[in-house]
């Protein structure tokens, strides 16, 4: 039975639970918008990275480099799309 619960994945799960609870502090405590958003950005991206490495085994095969390059590129496009639009449409720059 023990072999079905590898330490790496259990630790990954515990880490994502902890990160979720940290993110919830934003709701349950009183903090400024800037501090809150900083915490959320940190917890969300760390947790996404954790999923990618621990659960999705992104780097385990010989295609690991191609996979990381592809995901990194997609994330780059995503970030530029989101923040580029915010910059022009909401933040008036």
């Amino acid at each position: 039975m023990k072999e079905l619960f590898p330490a790496k994945q259990v630790m990954g799960f515990v880490a994502s639970l902890v990160l979720t609870v940290v993110a919830l502090l934003v709701y349950y405590t009183d903090m400024s918008f800037t501090v809150g958003m900083t915490i959320l950005l940190a917890t969300a991206f760390i947790q996404a990275f954790l999923q990618l490495v621990v659960f999705m085994h992104a780097g385990e095969s010989k295609d690991g480099n191609s996979i990381y390059t592809n995901i990194l590129y997609a994330v780059f496009i995503a970030v530029v799309t989101v923040f580029g639009s915010l910059l022009i449409l909401l933040w008036d720059m």
Binding site: L4, P6, L40, I71, T81, L86
Partner: protein
């Protein structure tokens, strides 16, 4: 078909390796798809018109249930893939089954949440905010729904054919899809719900 026994079953043929790489490229496109939905949402989140605002309709309880249920399902499917690599077919099917049940729990909670919004006067047509919100949540929920059917067929095929390079490859690719849905949910949870209730 050349089978390389030094690799886990799902990587054991060249076709299998290409299938997995190809699916990662598809996930890259999915990241960009959700980026455009998030862009629309962030741009329109404050345009509630005469309808309710995010702070008025968001509730923490269903969001907490959805988050922990989906997070746990991502863990159990990870265990499913681990069991598959040990050749433990029954354990693998059990973990995949638990994953799908949790997925169903997520979906039921989300549908109830949508019904609450409807009764509070926040429908798809109410405002730019509700349209963008429901398109984003709906696209994610639609992916989960598809995943429930996909996963069911994976379990049935593994039950029927056993763990072969073919079925292991399909099961592994499904696990990538499911983990990805959890990643998207982390961003929905953080930047739609928590930001909206802050």
């Amino acid at each position: 078909m050349h089978i390389d026994n030094s690799q886990p079953l799902e990587y054991s043929t060249q076709q299998n390796q290409l299938n997995i790489l190809g699916f990662w490229i598809f996930l890259g496109a999915e990241i960009m798809l959700f980026a455009t939905l998030f862009t629309a949402y962030f741009t329109l989140a404050d345009r509630a018109g005469s309808g309710p605002t995010s702070a008025e309709i968001f509730e923490i309880t269903p969001v907490l249930i959805e988050t922990f249920v989906l997070l746990t399902s991502s863990f159990t499917i990870g265990l499913g893939v681990h069991a598959m690599r040990l050749g433990r077919k029954n354990a693998m099917m059990a973990f995949f089954g638990i994953t799908l049940l949790l997925g169903l729990g997520f979906l039921v909670t989300e549908i109830l949440e949508f019904m609450t919004y409807y009764h509070e006067g926040a429908t798809y047509q109410t405002s730019a905010f509700t349209s963008a919100l429901m398109t984003t949540l709906g696209t994610h929920g639609g992916h989960v729904t598809l995943g429930l059917f996909w996963g069911t067929f994976i379990i049935l095929q593994v039950k029927k054919r056993g763990l072969t390079p073919g079925t292991a490859n399909k099961a592994f690719i499904f696990s990538l899809y499911w983990h990805f849905l959890d990643v998207v949910w982390i961003f929905i949870f953080s930047f739609i719900y928590l930001k909206g209730m802050m």
